[in-house]
Amino acid sequence: MGERLYLHRHSLVHSLPSHLKIIAAIAFILIVVSTPITQWGAFIAYFLWLLMVVFIAKIPFPLLFKRALIEIPFIFFAILMPFFGTGEKIQVGPFDLYREGLIAGSGIVAKGTLGVMTAIILSTSTTAREILRGLERLRLPVLMVQIASFMLRYVNVVNDEMERMKVARESRGFEATGVKHWKVLATAAGALFIRSYERGERVHLSMLSRGYEGVLPHEEQIEHKATVWLKAMMYPIVAATIFIAQLLIGKM
């Protein structure tokens, strides 16, 4: 866990500094979100551009689509929206759908998918550690970066611990099958919490022993050339161009 999202490749996208990639991803998402869904042509253009970036990043398309499935629980209600609502109805294939619901629903699905896929490009082309460094360079409060960084370090340790507790339970004939076992699981979760808390104290102790005074080491700022900036910002720049184009077309 932790680094399993990262896919090691040598590509332009992989080589860009992480903080620029984070800015680019957020800018892209903001542009997509501010586009009205009725401009569906723009969304097709965004999607094609996104696929091109995926191609440049050497991320296999099946991987992209597989990982994008994570959004399904989130867009579940968006998919239901056209079926429940009020107002004008339209016929789509065998279904009798509400117009308002259909527009709102497809807007959430389209924007959500583009956002999730952007996040996938970022997480697949950047190690978790690099993303944290990027956030640090973007002046995210040090405390938040530290918390995330500890989480990244200890998620495996806690996961292993949980796994060992599970094996120990099962070795004594326990199998969680229903509500009546929740009490056992809750107790185990409690024990895991206490153990993690105690580990936190021991880690802090070991940090104090090595002279910790509230600041974790961080690297010095590196200046990037304008060309690197430009390359990273191509992602939102192209999206912005599509956005302006749809505005102009809309005016005509």
Binding site: L152, R153, V157, R210
Partner: protein, 246 residues
């Protein structure tokens, strides 16, 4: 006579709940000595170690590290003490908390004020001493337990301590890792205090042993004569493995 690396006088300590752990400990360790601190569970070994670098404030008695008084109220001096007393904790996962091995080894010297090339050189040197240089950019959870313990030793060595304190260094190690760690520890030119129940390991590494039980030092002498005194060991809940002959 030279200044001892560690000089503990009449150290006593009670936890806030009233449970007294130490009842007047006296211990003097010379520079370059390797001493095993033996004792059963609950003898006060860890409590004693926590005093050595001022994590527990000294409430009664005194501790000097290389002649300098451990005073947890004096922030500047405690910082210096913590760079002189390097503690390797029992669970390497408690000690290795940075995303990569190199960053973790750099943590201590960074806090001591080292930067850039100088910092890098110290990190490489420490990793070299424990034979883990090639793993410097790996995340700690990708290493084996034995490797993680060696990195934990490096994180402390990078601070160039006066004393290396190891808490149960042989626990959970397979025989080969155990021997490799012993070789590394013997190769270091440094004062070592090793807290352990592993009597053969103490015999292998330390010429001198100290038994702590019930919060006082009950025996202090050459490891060989302590480990051959069966009555003394039995009285302190210590036992050599069956079949082990010194």
């Amino acid at each position: 006579m030279n200044t001892p690396s560690l000089e503990i006088k009449e150290l006593a300590f009670a936890y806030p709940d009233g449970n007294q752990a130490l009842f007047g400990v006296n211990l003097s360790i010379q520079k370059g000595e390797r001493v095993a601190l033996l004792g059963p569970n609950g003898a006060g070994k860890t409590t004693l170690v926590m005093h050595m670098n001022g994590i527990h404030p000294t409430s009664h008695g005194s501790i000097h590290v290389a002649g300098q008084l451990v005073n947890s109220k004096n922030k500047e001096s405690i910082k210096e003490i913590r760079s002189k007393v390097g503690i390797v904790f029992q669970d390497p996962d408690d000690q290795l908390f940075m995303p990569t091995v190199a960053e973790d080894v750099a943590f201590g010297p960074y806090n001591m004020g080292l930067r850039a090339d100088e910092l890098n050189a110290v990190v490489n040197e420490a990793l070299e001493l424990v034979g883990m240089l090639e793993f410097r950019d790996r995340p700690p959870h990708h290493l084996s337990f034995g490797q993680r313990r060696r990195v934990a030793v490096a994180t402390v060595l990078a601070m160039k301590p006066e004393i290396l304190v190891l808490d149960e260094p042989s626990s959970n190690l397979d025989p080969a890792s155990r021997r490799e760690l012993a070789d590394i520890l013997r190769s270091l030119d440094i004062t070592i205090v090793m807290v352990t129940h592993d009597l053969p390991y103490a015999h292998e590494i330390c010429a001198r042993s100290v038994i702590l039980n019930g919060g006082i030092i009950v025996a202090d002498g050459p490891t060989h004569s302590i480990l051959t005194n069966t009555a003394l060991l039995a009285a302190n809940r210590l036992e050599l493995p069956v079949g082990f002959v010194i």
